[in-house]
Amino acid sequence: MNKKQKVVLLFGFILIAAAIVIWIISGSEFFSKDGIWVQKPLTELEKSLGLEPQLEFHKQFVLGLLPHIAVFIGVVVVISGFLFFMLKTKKDKEKK
């Protein structure tokens, strides 16, 4: 492994680690979501009617492992693999 290949590998690992950290910070959801459920506070009348808090759909993108993070990691792996292969020096090839 030459110096350039090491740099490619290092960048690949950094990008994948960053994607995983962002996924964890975003709530570690398995699937990406288009919105979230938010519990609406009950009004006095609703309390008197014995109702439970209702859920309200709020449009909000939630980053999930599938498909976004997985696709990103896949692309990083493919590009890193391609560069790793392309950056092979003559010396490496002669060794084989």
Partner: protein
């Protein structure tokens, strides 16, 4: 003989009156409550699990009517339905899957309906509030099965406060029951995940007798 017959009738009528369980409110006699709400404040939710995550879905397209004698909740009749196409789970792709032919087939079965058959185990919680078990026919995906729902009903006489929501007396209904998906010929795979066969359904609605 006449005295015996009269006594029997009086006793029978007294037993009937005493056994009737209902609301002690201003209204009397038979009342019909309509759950139509143009603002979409009535809600039905369902909850299930998959190996990867819990799935919560809901619909605000809940409608229906119930009729009952205020002093005897066992006279309850009527039905509540949900628009199949209105169910949302928070993921557009999953919603499409839910409405598709393999799942609820919203095109051919546009409504999910609960039709009341019988009320039992009535427990008076307050003058205007009671709990009961309501047996009914639940229709989903073209299949109808009997289910028993735990129901809490609250009756509010018309007041300035109730008029903020709708005219007339209001009836708040909170119901909860479980169904088994395979009973309704529904495939339990959704976006590649196996969904638990057991689905919990909750209904949270308010009806008015002046709509």
């Amino acid at each position: 003989m006449r005295i015996i017959l009269k006594t029997f009738l009086i006793v029978f009528a007294t037993v009937l009156v005493l056994s009737a369980q209902g609301f002690k409110v201003k209204a009397t006699g038979e009342q019909t409550f309509d759950f139509q709400d143009k603002k979409g404040r009535n809600q039905a939710t369902f909850f299930s699990t998959t190996p990867l995550e819990d799935v919560t879905g809901l619909s605000n397209d809940v409608k229906g009517k119930v009729t009952f004698n205020v002093s005897d909740i066992k006279t309850l009749k009527g039905s509540i339905s949900i628009g199949t196409g209105s169910l949302k789970t928070g993921i557009d792709l999953r919603d499409e899957h839910l409405r598709s032919k393999n799942w609820l087939d919203a095109e051919n079965y546009p409504e999910i309906t609960f039709t009341i058959k019988k009320v039992s185990d009535v427990k008076i919680v307050a003058d205007n509030k009671l709990e009961a078990k309501v047996t009914g026919d639940f229709s989903l995906h073209g299949v109808t099965k009997e289910v028993v729902a735990d129901v809490t009903m609250t009756y509010l006489d018309e007041s300035e406060q109730t008029q903020q929501r709708a005219p007339g007396d209001l009836l708040g209904v909170q119901a909860k029951f479980n169904i088994v998906l395979s009973d309704y010929d529904v495939e339990n795979m959704i976006v590649g995940q196996k969904v638990s066969d057991n689905i919990e359904i909750k209904v949270n609605v308010v009806g008015s007798n002046a709509l």
